[in-house]
Amino acid sequence: MVAMYVEDLLVELGFDVAGMATSLDQALPLALEGDFDFAVLDVNLDGRLSFPVADVLRQRGIPFLFASGYGSKVFIEGYHDAVRIQKPFLGQDLAQAISKIVH
């Protein structure tokens, strides 16, 4: 549901959505082989943390940002500096975050 909303927001902001994953199993192949300019990662993918996906993206040099329902004090070792937005967020918050990772 939230993914659909993010998809709509991205389209409204003028982006093409290359793919969508709602679980780690779907997200990993996309991260490994997908052709896209940036990714919006929910920290929690169907109960599993999405850091493995972030690791792959970082490896490939593809920028990404986190959308998280966790408070600002909760984050994982190695991703303190990653761009993140708090759910729920506005279209303008998303646009601002994207502008920080895509140049």
Binding site: V2, M4, D8, G69, G71, P88, F89, L90
Partner: protein
């Protein structure tokens, strides 16, 4: 009186030669005379009585047979050195009694000289010093005991590890009693709080005991384990309490030999028996009443030390458990926050999808979004404070952050620090969001001059404290009361009032909207979600 007795004494007639001979014979000391070159020629009666020797035996160098052959050469050397020097001297060495027992004596020799200073005779005495030596030994022993006790006390009071503590105590017991070995059997609790009996050994390797089961409450052991008092036996093998309990009927096979036995219970201040100190020696009659006394002292120290160690352990465990619980709670709260906000994001998504076709879409969607995000921010704030509540200034800062950006100078906010419960904080945050949104759309923040002031204070009501909070707008466009109350107003007037259990009033004077919030205290941290 005194003068009279002095006179009486002086008036006695001067002693005669026979008196001196009798006096010399009846001196309590052994006494003798020797020629200037060191050959004894006369001994008093006390000498013959003590040594049991005859005058015939004493002729020549007869005295030498009364000395220990081990020290004789030294004594002979010292004696002739004194003779050569012509100066008085004294030495301590044992002299054999008629019963064959050597006893320590202090020997003093004094030369008698003529007018030219030549030695004409040597006078000697031998004074028994058994008692002095015994006292000196006892004192040395006592000093050692006291030192051991002091050291033990210092170590025990500084030691918080139960294991090291019982070892210190057991070692001290062995040193104080001269036991061949000692053991401390003590009760303790494991991590799960179950009681178990552990022991430590001193004087011999632990392997000497590791193959035996722990002592049970047999006739020998039960007075100790029941805390009845010390048990001291000169020879446990002939003690009536010994060997009366199956299956071993005495010491198990392979046990270190014990004849002398001494055990004391270790009892806490509350009377609980913490364990017992046990000491053994393979020879009989090694433990005295003094040893028992010392051990009772050590046991008392041990009890205090163990009490301290237990309290410390308990405190540590408590702290550990609390930390764990705290960590767990934090995790739960974070997880909850995550879920709440995911739910809000879902609601946001549903609303967006639903309103996609509506003509009002943009404005309505914006308002829904802004409200959801205000709610979400309030949740974040509370999560950061572990849902223990937060303070009003933080709530105001968070709720008005978005509205104040670019127009900071148009807000005037003041009030004392007030602690709010999570429920109150959420309600006030939502109300402030609505008030600020309305001010931007219709009120004081619509034009370029209007201002908003927000002040609060704590007031004394009838027996309870009240929070009095006033939102007032000035300088905005002329206000006309709304013909219909919108959701925002209803949320403030009805929702907030219900949440707070207080009253909320919005009025619409032409000069600007005024909202007065009164809510009773305490609104401090209670866990209402």
């Amino acid at each position: 009186m005194t003068n009279n007795s002095v006179v009486t004494m002086l008036s006695l007639k001067a002693p005669e030669v026979a008196d001196f001979a009798a006096f010399a014979d009846h001196l309590p000391q052994l006494a003798w005379m020797a020629t200037p070159d060191g050959h004894a020629y006369w001994y008093n009666q006390q000498w013959y009585r003590y040594t049991g020797m005859t005058p015939e035996e004493m002729l020549g160098q007869g005295w030498r047979s009364a000395l220990d052959p081990a020290v004789l050469p030294i004594v002979v050397e010292l004696w002739f050195a004194a003779v050569a020097s012509g100066e008085p001297a004294e030495w301590a060495f044992p002299i054999k009694g008629a019963d064959g027992v050597f006893r320590p004596f202090l020997t003093r020799v004094q030369p008698q000289k003529d007018e030219q200073g030549r030695v004409i005779r040597w006078c000697g005495t031998n004074t028994e010093i058994s008692e002095q030596q015994r006292i000196a030994e006892v004192l040395t022993q006592e000093k050692l005991h006291l030192e051991t006790l002091n050291q033990t006390m210092a170590l025990v009071s500084a030691e918080l590890s139960l294991e090291r503590l019982v070892q210190i105590v057991t070692d001290a017991g062995v040193r104080l009693t001269g036991a061949q070995f000692g053991a401390f059997f003590y009760n303790t609790t494991d991590n799960r709080g179950d009681t178990l009996t552990l022991y430590t050994i001193s004087g011999v390797p632990k392997e000497n005991f590791s193959k035996f089961p722990n002592p049970r409450a047999t006739h020998v052991f039960s007075p100790t384990f029941n805390g009845e008092g010390p048990v001291r036996s000169d020879d446990i093998l002939v003690d009536p309490r010994y060997g009366r309990n199956a299956p071993y009927n005495g010491m198990p096979k392979g046990h270190l030999p014990v004849r002398s036995y001494l055990a004391v219970p270790v009892k806490s201040r509350s009377g609980e028996v913490m364990g017992g100190l046990f000491f053994g020696h393979p020879e009989p009659s090694r433990f005295t009443a003094r040893h028992e006394e010392l051990l009772v002292g050590v046991a008392a120290q041990a009890a205090i030390g163990i009490d301290n160690a237990r309290l410390y352990d308990a405190a540590q465990r408590e702290i550990r458990e609390r930390r764990e619980a705290e960590k767990h709670r934090e995790l739960l709260i974070n997880e909850l926050n995550h879920r709440v906000k995911n739910t809000l994001a879902t609601v946001q998504s549903i609303a967006a999808q639903t309103l996609r076709t509506s003509a009002l879409e943009a404005d309505v969607r914006q308002r829904i979004d802004a409200r959801l995000i205000a709610l979400s921010n309030a949740h974040n704030l509370l999560t950061e404070h572990n849902w223990q509540g937060t303070t009003l200034d933080l709530v105001v800062e968070m709720a008005l952050r978005a509205h104040r950006c670019d127009r900071e100078e148009r807000f005037e906010v003041s009030g004392p620090e007030v602690h709010l419960s999570p429920k109150t904080a959420l309600a006030i945050a939502m109300a402030l969001h609505e008030l600020a949104t309305n001010a931007i759309k219709y009120g004081a923040l619509l034009n370029e001059r209007g201002k908003v002031s927000l002040h609060w204070q704590v007031e004394q009501g009838d027996g309870e404290q009240k929070l009095h909070m006033v939102w007032s707008e000035q300088g905005g466009p002329k206000v006309t009361p709304p013909s219909r109350k919108g959701f925002g107003t209803r949320l403030i007037e009805r929702g907030l009032a219900a949440e707070l259990g207080g009253s909320v009033q919005i009025s619409y004077p032409e000069s600007g909207v005024v909202c007065i919030i009164d809510t009773p205290f305490p609104t401090t941290a209670s866990r209402e979600f």
